[in-house]
Every structure is written in C-alpha cells, then in structure tokens.
C-alpha cells in the first residue's frame, strides 16, 4: 500500500467519517472539514511534476486484490494520470470551496449526503486515472457513474432531477458494461492480463488479433457514453439539474473527461488502426458540431454550457483521434506536424477545465443571486455584478477562441491539427481529410455564436428588476474566490502557455504517444501566440466575422423550426425507447403470464414434449424390445383393459362424485396390478391410501360445489387433448426405448444386494420393509415427515386465517 493508493482511498475513508462530523458539528458547514483533503492531495500529486523538465518517470505500486482473476489494485502515475489527478484535486478544491458558499447550511439541507457523494466521486475519479488495471479502472469508472447520478438527484424531490439521474445512470452504466466486455476481450487478446502497461507493451501483436475491433468498439462505447459523445450526449444537458458546483466539477471538468482519459490511455494500443482514427474523428467532429449548434438553441445558461461542454468534448476526442495518426510515422520527423493534434488535445483539456469551470461557477452565481438562469429574463447584469461579469467575460472569450486567452491557443492548434491531418497520406485521408477542417471551422463559428450570445443576453442590455424574485446584487466574496482563481488561470495560461509545456503537457503526451521521445532525448513543447499570418489565423478571423454576422441575426435564425425546440431531438428516441421498453415488457409479460393454470400447464407440456421429442429423435432413440411379451395372462389383460377404459372415461365425466368413484375403482385396479406384479406391500399401501383419500375427497365435497362445466371451446379442448396425448406418447416412446435398452445392456440392478443381505444383515424377511426401515430408512423418515407437515399444513390452512395486512 503506497501513498498513491492512499490518494485514491483517502476520499472514501473520509466519506465514511463525514456524516459523523456533519451530525456532530451542525453549525459548521460540512464543506470546511472536507476542503483540506483535495488540497493536500493536489499538493501531493503536484510533487511529481517534473519542474526541471525532461519528462517524468512513471511510478507504479501494486496491491493484490483478486489475483486469481488477474485483478490487482495497481496505481500507475505517469504524465497523463498526473494531469488528470491534478485536475481532479485542483478543481475539486475550488469546487468544494465554492460549494461552501453556494449551498447554505440550512437545517433540512442534507450536506452530509452531498459531500459524501462528492468524496465518493473524487476517490472514484482518482481511481480511474491512477489505476493500471483495467478492471480496477472499471470499478472506479462505475463508481463515478453512481456518484454522478446521486449528485444529479441531490434535490430528488424534483422530477427533473430524478429523470436526469436515471438517464445519466442508464447511459453511462450501459456504456460501462460494454466497456467491461471490451476489457475482457482485451484481456483475452493480450494473453490474460488486465494491466494497461503490459497490454501496451504488446500493442504490435495485439493489433493483429481479429478480436481487436470488437474490443475497441466496446471500449469506445464506454468512453463515448461517459464523455457525452454524439449520440450518447443526451444525458449531459439533463445532468444540469445537479447543483452547479457539481456541474462545474463532474459535468464539465472531470468526470466527462474520463472517456477522454481512457481514449488517451489506450491510444498506444488501438492507435495503429484506421478504425480508431476514423471513429474518433467522426464521432468527435459530429459531437463538436452537434453540440455547438445545439448550444445556440438553449435559453438556460447551464443548458448552453452543457451543450458547449458536449461540443468541446467532441473536439478533444477528435483531436485524440487525429493524434493517433502520429503513431504511423515513428516520429522520425522532428516537425510538430504529427503530434500537434495530441498536444492540442492535452492543452485544450486543461484550458477547457479552467474556462468552463469558471463559467459554470459564474452561472451558478448568477443563478444563486438572481434566482434564474433563463437568458430571456436576464440582462444588464454587467453593472450589478462586475466581478462575475469579468470572470464570465474571460471565460467566454477563451471559449470563443479569442486571444489572448488560453482557448485561443488551443483553438489555433486545433485548426493546425485538422489541416495537418488533411494532408496525411494514410487512412484515405488524401480524399476525405478535407472535410475535417471544414467541419471544425463551422463548429467554431457556432461556438463563437453561443459564447457571444451568453455574453450579450446576460450582461448587456437592460436590467429589468421585475424579472427577478429577489433583489439582485453581487455575490459574496467566498463564492467569488474559486471563479476568480480559475479565470486568472485562463489568463495565465493564455499569456504563459509554456508554463504548462514541460510540466504537464509533455509528460502527458509521453504517455499518450510513448514513442514520441527517442531514448535518452527530451521532447519539448513550445506554444507560441504568433505563427505569422497562416491558414489557422485566417480561419479564426473568419470565425469571428461569420460568428458576429450570425449573432446579430440570431432572431431570424431563431425562427427556424430547428431552433424552436430546446430539447435535443435525440431525447425523443430515448424517451420513446424507455417508454416502449416498459410497455412492450408489459405486453410480453401479460401475454405469457396469463394467470391461467391451464396455460402454464399447456406451455410446460408443449415444452416438455417439444424438447423431449427433439432429443429423442435427434439421437434416434426409438428402440422396441418385443421379447418376453407373450404369456400375458388373460385376467391381467382384462384388468389392464378395465384400468385403461376407466381412465379414458375420466375426462368425459362431469360429475365430481362419479369422478371420485371412478378414481376409487382405478385405485383398486392399480392395487390389483400391484398384486399381479408381485408387490403385496404396494397393493396394501395403495388400497389404504386410496380409501383414506376417497374419504378425504368426500369430506371436502361437502365444502365445495359441483365441478365447473367446461365452456364449449372445441379448439381449446382439441389443443389440450392433442398436447396431453403428445405427453403420453412421449412417455410411452421413452419408456419403450428404456425398456429395450435395459434388456440389451448387462447392467445388474443393485437390488441383488438386498436379496442377499436382508435376512443375514438386517434381520427381516420382507425385503421391501427392510429397505424401508433399514437400507433406506432416511427415505421413510422423511416420507412420514412429509405426511406430518401436510397434516399440520391442513390444520393451518383450515384454522389460520389472516386478512392480509396484519404483518408483512
């Protein structure tokens, strides 16, 4: 157990104790107890940053968990995990701080729940990024889904919260299940290991396996659902029902990036395949485009941010796909050409976390102070909330990709990457590649538009106090600290991007593209603001121009049908699917669970005959042995005839007492057969039982009416007759074959033993009785137990009557 293990486990441990603190110190906001934890963890992880440059050595510690299944809790810290761990703990600290002021410590506010979920999430997320073992990663992965759902439903009295929680849970967990299957396939392909590093070390061999594609698809399903890629993104806007600190933390900065993390982590494994490239690029760009267009339609500030996040996640995903192309070039060229995409991905990841975090917090403040997030009601807040305004402006500009903020830099790199990729000569990029920068550009235009829109509709225009339920003023300082810090980072990283270069970006890139640095050499990331007037810059200028044009004409756009609906049309598919799932399940269930004993018996009989006969004829089992069939005494034939006749009459008899008399006769005849076949004890028992049974029937008749007449339904009757006939035929055929096989085989029954030993060893001459009380005494003991239970049961049935709600 290393300290790194403790980094993962610490939040869980804290989660156990937190409720006690909550109940013990109700007057102190629970968040304060929590705050030091992410901070300490952040500082601890930060100690691994290679401030001196030159990349970092990966750290690995293993604790055995379920070694027999290949599951070990191995923490692995390299550049990529470190970057994520810093994001999780860093933003985590800020979010906790923010939440202390955001969620008031009111008596009926279950802060303990909130922070326990948050801690669970934090631990789980750290677990995801620090685990080397795929299954452990999966374990934490599902825990993030769980805690996310719980956080979304924190205000579970709201219908929408419950809806959002259910949706996010279903989609992300389903994806998780697929991912688990993918991991399992990977385990099989890689020769029974779940260790990511071991799998990466065999990457070249693995790609040759035919199972690699299904494995990849399944794993990507997990990544895409988690990272809200089209068309699985629909859960994310609904997740905005969570308290805003949660949105800022989970649903923009960290959890939704788990998919990104996984894709980056597995790039060395899958990156060599064309499918990886195309799937990531196509889904990424589609998500980017779809998200940015959808964001424009939103009127809820958090809705805009949600779709914005969707679109930015698509961007990063697409970048990772493009970056994988570098693996094909063995990094021979020192040009940044091949790794720009990956660098952009990592850089934008950081940038997005900062500016989106700031924006979410700002929106939270607006919501908190004004009581609304509806852009139709908001307006003119610039003067009333100057600090919030400033932070928002910085965040929005970064999001729109304007200089000098960090978003601009990564956006530029993104354009570079798309242009680079379009010129590659692999994966048919010569022809198809041209679409990539075009889509990227269009999406950027819309990104600009919604950023612009957020700005104008919230902060500019006229302030109308009648739109608000309370008096609007600037937020308290505590609430502002976190967004200010994030906003400052946006500016800082925008102005001094190379602060991140060798500390965070380079180590991360080494993890994503392991061959990027030749042995013994270093790899330097340098990010510049000014590359001269190049295509990328022109593209940015065009984005601004077109964006302004659209933004100014937004009213016209808004009239188009597509922009009328705020909800994503894909939701209809989801809702319909879920509805139908229930409805169709009900149909299927009601169809076969009819409550009719007759139907159940019919189904079961058909099944028995069907499967039985199939088996029977599959093996050509029919076999009849005619030996020893002669010499049947006439009286026996008559008795058997009488038995069969009485039996066949039974279904046609509709008076219960006649039925019973017939039953009595049949019982007597069966006893007679026992006599004929030399089974005196059986005959006696049969007779006695039969008689007692008859008396019982008679006693019961007193309490019951004449039996129900079957309604005339010839079809049903025919079906019943056919099926029961088939059961009979099945029994007969099998019986005949067993009889024949028995005659052929030389199996000696164990009964010889009883014949030999009954007298000498058991002291009885009646072998049946000796078997009953001695050789198989247990059977007898139990059979009378059955009788005893039945009798007590009958007493209970008759005398014990409850109405049904006395107990549970």
């Amino acid at each position: 157990m290393s300290l790194l293990h403790f980094v993962v486990l610490a939040p869980f441990v804290m989660a156990i104790f937190l409720p006690f603190l909550y109940y013990k110190f109700r007057s102190i906001h629970t968040g304060w107890f929590l705050l030091p934890l992410p901070l300490i963890l952040f500082i601890y992880v930060a100690t691994y940053i290679p401030f001196g440059g030159g990349g970092m050595e990966a750290v690995e510690h293993t604790v055995q968990w379920v070694p027999s299944l290949g599951i070990n809790f191995t923490v692995y810290l390299d550049g990529l995990s470190m970057l994520f761990a810093l994001l999780i703990t860093g933003i985590g600290t800020l979010v906790v701080l923010y939440s202390i002021f955001y969620i008031a410590n009111k008596p009926d506010e279950p802060l303990n729940n909130f922070y326990v979920y948050l801690l669970m999430f934090m631990g789980a997320m750290l677990g995801v990024v620090l685990s080397d073992n795929l299954i452990v990663l999966y374990v934490f992965w599902e825990l993030t889904s769980l805690s996310s759902s719980l956080l979304i439903a924190y205000w579970f009295h709201k219908e929408k919260s419950r809806y959002g929680a259910q949706k996010s849970m279903l989609i992300t967990v389903s994806g998780g299940f697929a991912m688990l299957a993918g991991f399992a396939l990977l385990y099989i392909i890689a020769g029974n290991t779940f260790s990511i590093q071991e799998i990466i070390s065999q990457a070249d061999a693995i790609v040759q396996d035919p199972l690699i594609l299904p494995a990849m698809l399944l794993i990507l399903l997990g990544a895409f659902t988690k990272s809200a890629q089209f068309p699985f993104h629909i859960w994310l806007p609904d997740a905005m029902e969570a308290p805003t600190p949660v949105s800022a933390y989970l649903h923009s900065a960290t959890m939704v990036k788990a998919g990104i993390y996984l894709v980056a982590r597995l790039t060395p494994v899958f990156g060599l395949t064309a499918e990886w490239f195309w799937i990531l690029v196509i889904f990424g760009l589609t998500t980017l485009l779809w998200g940015s267009i959808s964001a424009v339609r939103q009127t809820d500030l958090k809705g805009i941010l949600a779709f914005s996040t969707v679109s930015q996640l698509g961007l990063i995903m697409a970048l990772l796909g493009m970056g994988a192309a570098a693996l094909h070039y063995d990094f021979i060229e020192t040009e940044t050409m091949y790794y720009t995409a990956t660098m952009a991905a990592v850089f934008h990841l950081i940038n997005h976390a900062t500016f989106k975090g700031a924006l979410f917090m700002a929106v939270g403040i607006i919501d908190h102070e004004t009581g609304t997030r509806d852009v139709k009601r908001l307006g003119g807040l610039m003067a009333i909330m100057p600090v919030t305004f400033t932070v928002s402006l910085v965040g929005l500009a970064a999001m729109a990709g304007l200089p000098p903020f960090n978003g601009f830099l990564s956006k530029e790199m993104f354009f570079t990457a798309t242009l680079n990729v379009a010129s590659l000569d692999i994966f048919n990029l010569e022809t198809l590649g041209v679409f990539i920068p075009i889509v990227a550009w269009i999406a950027s235009v819309f990104t600009f538009v919604y950023s612009m829109m957020m700005f104008t509709r919230t902060f500019t225009g006229e302030f109308k106090p009648e739109n608000y339920e309370k008096e609007v003023h600037e937020a308290p300082a505590g609430l502002l600290i976190s967004p200010i810090i994030l906003g400052s980072l946006v500016i800082l990283f925008g102005l001094f991007p190379n602060l991140l270069g060798y500390t965070l970006i380079e180590p991360a890139m080494q993890a994503i593209l392991p061959g990027i640095t030749p042995v013994g050499e270093q790899f330097y990331v340098n990010i510049y603001h000014w590359h001269g007037i190049n295509t990328e810059l022109l593209m940015t200028v065009a984005v601004v121009l077109f964006g302004l044009a659209i933004a100014l004409n937004l009213k016209k756009w808004a009239e188009a049908a597509f922009f009328q609906r705020e909800r994503d049309p894909l939701n209809r598919a989801y809702d319909f699917g879920l509805d139908q799932l229930v409805v169709q399940s009900q149909n299927v269930t009601n169809f076969h669970m009819t409550g009719r004993l007759r139907d159940y018996m019919l189904y079961m009989s058909v099944f028995i005959v069907g499967l039985g006969m199939y088996t029977f004829f599959r093996y050509n089992s029919l076999d009849i042995n005619l030996e020893g069939q002669g010499g049947i005494p006439g009286y026996a034939i008559l008795v058997i005839g009488g038995l069969i006749a009485s039996t066949l009459v039974l279904p046609f008899v509709h008076k219960r007492i006649t039925n019973l008399v017939l039953l009595g006769v049949i019982g007597f005849l069966v006893a007679l057969l026992f006599v004929i076949f030399r089974a005196p004890d059986l005959a006696l028992t049969q007779l006695l039982v039969e008689t007692v049974m008859v008396v019982l029937f008679l006693l019961v008749f007193r309490h019951m009416p004449e039996i129900t007449k079957e309604k005339k339904a010839p079809l049903t009757t025919t079906v019943k007759a056919l099926v029961s006939g088939a059961v009979g035929i099945f029994v007969i055929l099998t019986g005949l074959s067993v009889h024949a096989l028995r005659a052929e085989s030389d199996i000696t029954p164990i009964s010889d033993f009883f014949i030999e030993n009954s007298v000498p060893l058991a002291g009885g001459y009646n072998m049946v009785n000796v078997i009953l009380v001695d050789f198989r005494g247990l059977d007898t003991l139990l059979e009378v137990l059955v009788l005893g239970i039945a009798a007590l049961g009958i007493v209970t049935l008759i005398k014990h009557r409850l109405k049904g709600d006395e107990d549970v």
């Binding site: 005494p633 006439g634 009286y635 008559l638 008795v639 005839g641 009488g642 006749a645 009485s646 009459v649 008899v653 008076k655 007492i657 006649t658 008399v661 017939l662 009595g664 006769v665 007597f668 005849l669 006893a671 007679l672 006599v675 004929i676 030399r678 005196p680 005959a683 006696l684 007779l687 006695l688 039969e690 008689t691 008859v694 008396v695 008679l698 006693l699 008749f701 007193r702």
Partner: protein
C-alpha cells in the same frame, strides 16, 4: 386342475369387474355407482384369493382382508355422503 379353474374364475371375475365398471360409468344415479364400486371391491377380494392360488403364495392374504375392510369403509362413507353430503357428523344431533 385347480390352476385351470382358478384361471377360469379369474377371467370370470375380471369380466364381472368390467361389467361393474360399465354400471359405474352408466349410473344413472350415484347410488348405482356406489353399488358398482362395492361389488368391484367384493370381486377384488375373490380375485386376490385366486391370485394367491395362481402364484402359490399366501402373501396376499393381508391384501384380501384389507380390501374387504376398505370396501366397507368406502361404501359407508359414500353412502353417508350421498345421504346428506356430510361424511363425519360434528355431533350426535345430526343423525
């Protein structure tokens, strides 16, 4: 000789049983059926006696006696049931 007559008698009894089964199915009233059942019981007693001779064993003597007893019990039960639907009276007042 006894074996042969026993066999013949067995067939006679078996036919008797079948005849009773016919009456049992035909009815028309329940009493008829109970009569038939009772008679079948009687015939069974004879039947088993004969089987004892055919199989040369006295092992079925118990069965024979038991059928006699049981035929009686069931006849009485059926008759009581027919009379009033009550096989076991709760107390003496009902008779």
């Amino acid at each position: 000789m006894i074996q042969i007559t026993a066999q013949i008698t067995l067939v006679l009894l078996a036919v008797s049983i079948l005849l009773c089964v016919i009456r049992l199915v035909k009815g028309p009233c329940m009493a008829d059926r109970v009569v038939a059942l009772d008679t079948i019981g009687l015939n069974l007693i004879g039947f088993i006696g004969l089987i004892m001779m055919v199989q040369q064993t006295i092992l079925y003597a118990e069965a024979l006696l038991i059928i006699a007893i049981l035929a009686f019990i069931s006849t009485v039960s059926f008759a009581k049931f027919l009379e009033g639907g009550v096989v076991v009276d709760r107390n003496g007042s009902s008779r």
